[in-house]
Symmetry: C2
Subunit: 219 residues, 2 copies
DNA sequence: CCGGATCCTCGGTGATACTG
DNA sequence: CAGTATCACCGAGGATCCGG
């Protein structure tokens, strides 16, 4: 008898890895929670709520319980400060390739922002990581600070390997300020030079590093 | 009939490629339909129903409409025979990497079959394709016929490139008959030799080709 | 404040019957 | 065969409440 019996109610009735994956993380909001835990590390209940506008508290609690039972998420109580955090288990972290791949697929269909759509740190972290082009980054070492609206994050690339984290990075090689136009830039719909000329993107640093940025991250 | 049927109403409120992906294919059954269209090519409504045990007809109809509206699925009327088939558009086919990756993730958690769980051709095709090891297949050319229960399919590998199709292949290099134990074999939980010895797997052909099979496909 | 639990409403899902 | 129609039910969404 599977360990998650009794937790998952919606099943697909197929003995199939793909079907099992959907049973475990296919419910509404589940993969969004995984994405945020993946992008920003351990998070408190309240932080997850903030990053997922519109999710009801009972649904978040339910998803967290289900994913704990499935061994995807771990609930941990920190001693100092005395708070509860949720984090991905190794099994949960193994969803990374799937999340990145789905993110790439969706990014191509993104189009212009709808009304009331917001941008969160974790979604941006995921976006940068999923659009990162390892081939173009061979041997590259550089640090970018990126601000989209009032969200700031930074990416460090060290010899072709990338890490993306929330927050500013004052000593970045290039600091980029932009808005939803970040999509056009990553999609190559506007050249970096034009983006700056049109005021879609503002930078602090060498503009050639913006060209590199557009080569390193591509939808 | 409400005219808005087919429009996505459950949104996530984030300007994010990953969120958009879930809005388009995150609803229940949607990716299962994609999987079957991906594995078996254009399909009739009835064929989709057969491959997805338990899906209500109205839900299948709704998903197909939604995915047509999203440009993921195309409805086409064949002239001879005069039937309607559904197929993936290029956008839909681009979900392949995501489906394979999720399938790999889920396969690791599959465990033993639950009661009443069935095995379908399309799930097996997906399983073989997602567990295929290109590195192990470098330069390999071989044809396998695989029967799991009463489902038969075949895989052709030509110079390391694989195609998997439903149905028998009488002139295959090796013909394999097995059951749910296929998972243990692909997971390496039982050695090919032992699988045959224990009667979990029966073969027609050279047993060394079964060793190769276990090397070519791995969970 | 935080981490939920509870209650209520609404709409989607699932099951089935039905029609062109 | 290819869906549509109907309806019971349950999970999502939204608000509020409560113990720590």
């Amino acid at each position: 008898m599977p360990y998650y019996q009794g937790v998952v109610r919606r099943v697909y009735g197929q003995y199939c890895g793909f079907a099992r994956a959907l049973e475990l993380v296919g419910e509404r909001w589940a993969l969004m929670v995984v994405r945020d835990l993946m992008a920003g590390g351990p998070k408190r209940f309240r932080d997850l709520l903030r990053g997922l506008p519109g999710i009801p508290t009972n649904i978040l609690a339910a998803r967290l319980k289900e994913m704990q039972a499935a061994g995807i998420v771990r609930r941990r109580r920190l001693s100092r400060p005395n708070v509860v955090v949720y984090e991905l288990t190794e099994t949960g972290a193994a969803l990374e390739a799937s999340v990145m791949e789905l993110g790439r697929w969706g990014a191509k269909l993104l189009g212009a922002p709808r009304r009331n759509e917001i941008i969160t740190v974790d979604s941006l972290i995921t976006a940068l990581r999923s659009t990162f082009q390892p081939k173009a980054a061979k041997g590259v070492t550089i640090a970018y600070e990126l601000s989209v609206g009032d969200i700031t994050l930074h990416a460090r690339i060290v010899r072709g390997r990338i890490t993306v984290k929330p927050g500013p990075l004052p000593d970045a090689d290039l600091s980029i300020q932009t808005g939803p136009a970040i999509r056009e830039l990553l999609a190559g719909e506007v050249a970096p030079r034009d983006a700056v000329a049109k005021g879609l993107v503002a930078i602090r640093g060498n503009r050639k590093l913006l060209d590199l940025f557009a080569a390193l991250f591509k939808i």
